[in-house]
Symmetry: C2
Subunit: 128 residues, 2 copies
DNA sequence: TTCCTTGCAAATCGTTTGCATAATG
DNA sequence: CATTATGCAAACGATTTGCAAGGAA
């Protein structure tokens, strides 16, 4: 379905995203990718992020701070959001996948997945 | 702390929200409250929703569709979002509150809560 | 050549805000 | 009177889009 051509810009974006352990916003990606690709436009960054997210090559996170964050790690895992500094951190935790069945138990529709974000204060902010 | 005056507009908003079982957006609230309050402005709706949410009299939901939804039910419960029609539905399910401790187990920061949304196809859409 | 992609700028959408006026206590 | 709330319109930030030009297959 996706007759996709090669694009230097898209490669830079993927490359940058895969190298980061945090979960940058479109604008941060734009700022950084510009060093390798000075003429890239913010629109192109958005277009490619949306394209990659649609094809599940990356993940779009709605952490609730008004701007989307992106994650090149598409394997199932959860995120923590610091309410002090806004940082988005990967959590290492046991699977809670079965909460989907808990939700499905008394529901008449069909549940295919869930999104969960944890909130609190991160280690660095606790020390301040 | 909140030296709050009475306001006809705020009352209409609360009243409308409490009467709804779905989870309307600011604009839908605005459309509806106008019948009782023809001169109310969208800005006032937003201001009051933000005020009420800040004082936890209502809940703001970020379901990921780009616009916030509001819920007058502040007791802990979970929501389902239909990926077909966008409807937001209350779920009746057992508590999964302990997922917070699951997340906290190997995390150095302090986790105070979580937000979870379930996705899938609602009963009505399944029948189409 | 064909069709995918881009850069650029303008447009859109949801939400917030400044300001002068009106309502509350 | 002091303060809070409102309507209106302008401002905003994030994201999308139209279009003509550039690049890949």
């Amino acid at each position: 379905m996706a007759a996709r051509n090669f694009s230097r810009q898209r490669e830079s974006i993927k490359e940058f995203l895969m190298a980061r352990k945090d979960h940058p916003t479109a604008d941060i990606i734009y700022q950084n990718v510009r060093s390798q690709n000075p003429n890239i436009s913010l629109g192109t960054v958005y277009r490619n992020l949306t394209l990659l997210a649609d094809e599940v090559e990356i993940n779009r996170l709605n952490v609730g701070d008004g701007t989307d964050h992106f994650d090149a790690n598409t394997s199932p895992h959860y995120h923590f959001v610091c309410t002090e500094c806004g940082q988005v951190i990967d959590l290492e935790m046991d699977s809670i996948e079965f909460i989907t069945s808990a939700a499905a138990a008394r529901f008449e529709g069909q549940i295919t997945g869930h999104k969960t974000y944890f909130y609190g204060i991160c280690g660095s902010c606790l020390k301040l």
